[in-house]
Symmetry: C2
Subunit: 246 residues, 2 copies
């Protein structure tokens, strides 16, 4: 069996200009692609998009700044559960046996912000033929109440622990772009793209792409970044967009 971990970007499946608003057409489009795919084991992770982010910033919660206010937890987590229910029901309409794994129920961070995410239930779900669905969420954090865990962190943690064969990021960009805005087909070392992406810490400048590439080079499984119109190709085993393999 071959395991694929697929991230559906929050800005792909939601309308990022309107709070708590789906991009229903795009969600249908990606759900069609997942429903039509002939693949073995699949874990899906979706981002927060316009559901989680504005609730998180209203409450001042980020990956590093926490809150112990239960209203903040319920507000952010509740918005993400709502988005998750939309994603699940669109998948069920296409006979994808998707089941929810709420990250807040299972994950935690210690006082060094290290994420712990037990995955035995995910492995068993896969073995029983289900498609576990996770999403960016709040996570309890020792000494800080709750902070945010991103979909990307969950992808990395699941892929590493379950020894995934392939990782895909379905995003709003067609891949990692070079200085002429052309897609770089493959990245095998950070040095080769440092000129384009800048230092890997400068996530502000690059919209997170630098840090993402650096993290994916360490993953131990090949990862592809591609746009929604390449999702079917990715699920068919092709390497659309940018393939990152350290």
């Amino acid at each position: 069996m071959s395991l694929t971990v697929l991230k559906l970007g929050g800005s792909v499946i939601t309308d990022k200009d309107r709070p708590d608003t789906l991009d229903g057409e795009m969600l249908d489009y990606v759900a069609d692609a997942v429903g039509d795919a002939q693949i073995d084991d699949l874990v899906l992770v979706h981002g927060a998009g316009s559901f989680g982010h504005h609730h998180a910033s209203e409450h001042g919660v980020s990956k590093t700044v926490g809150s112990s206010d239960v209203a903040a937890v319920i507000d952010i987590h509740g918005a993400m559960e709502t988005l998750d229910q939309f994603v699940l029901s669109r998948l069920h309409e296409r006979d994808v046996p998707a089941v929810p794994v709420h990250p807040f129920s299972v994950a935690s961070r210690d006082s060094d912000a290290e994420l712990s995410l037990p995955v035995q239930q995910i492995a068993t779900m896969l073995g029983e033929g289900f498609v576990p669905v996770l999403y960016g969420d709040v996570v309890v954090h020792e000494g800080k109440g709750v902070t945010i865990v991103s979909g990307d962190e969950l992808v990395t943690s699941v892929a590493r622990q379950l020894d995934a064969d392939r990782v895909g990021f379905c995003s709003t960009v067609p891949g990692v772009l070079d200085e002429d805005d052309a897609v770089i087909p493959e990245i095998t070392s950070y040095e080769s793209v440092a000129d384009v992406l800048g230092e890997s810490e400068s996530t502000d400048v690059t919209g997170g792409m630098a840090g993402k590439v650096a993290a994916l080079l360490e993953l131990g499984a090949p990862a592809s970044i591609f746009a929604p119109d390449d999702l079917t190709a990715f699920l068919d085993g092709e390497n659309p967009g940018t393939r990152i393999d350290g």
Copy 2:
């Protein structure tokens, strides 16, 4: 810090004669008691009552008989999430910092039906001042799809792993009853009550009380079984109903 694990019986907080119906008055009553309590660390677990049970039997799912039908999973789990949202919102109205831990997201059974329930996130939630709330749910089960995990199993697993100081079962009966229907104040060995309860395997006859008492005698923490009007006394540190301490 002292940890209390409290089970709210499904037949206490729901109207067991009507599918998917709360006993709203009783839920308010127990939420008042929890909201007024002066206790350190508290984990709440609630049963399924009229929400989970009839969906589970419609789909033929029990603790031992499984299903791989995603519609069954979503139906049973969805009903329990609905009940859980009622419980959480009544607690929030009383300023109890209750947060959801969905058992299906975290637990699993292996092929020997052994339950695995990671609790690091629950321990961290307690440390951050939250009140984790779990409930009887579906659980993925190696070789069987999903089966049911009861609230009682969750109570036992959490109490044992987190070394609880006290365990309480708020139920529809005032305690374990003797042959004259009087409450037995304390049970310290199974032999002392075998005449009344019968063999501990004969759960059909006793409505599960025999197996429950046998399991609680093994728990390593004192457990009390009592009716809702004794909940405040229990949370105040008293020993209403039947105290079981092996």
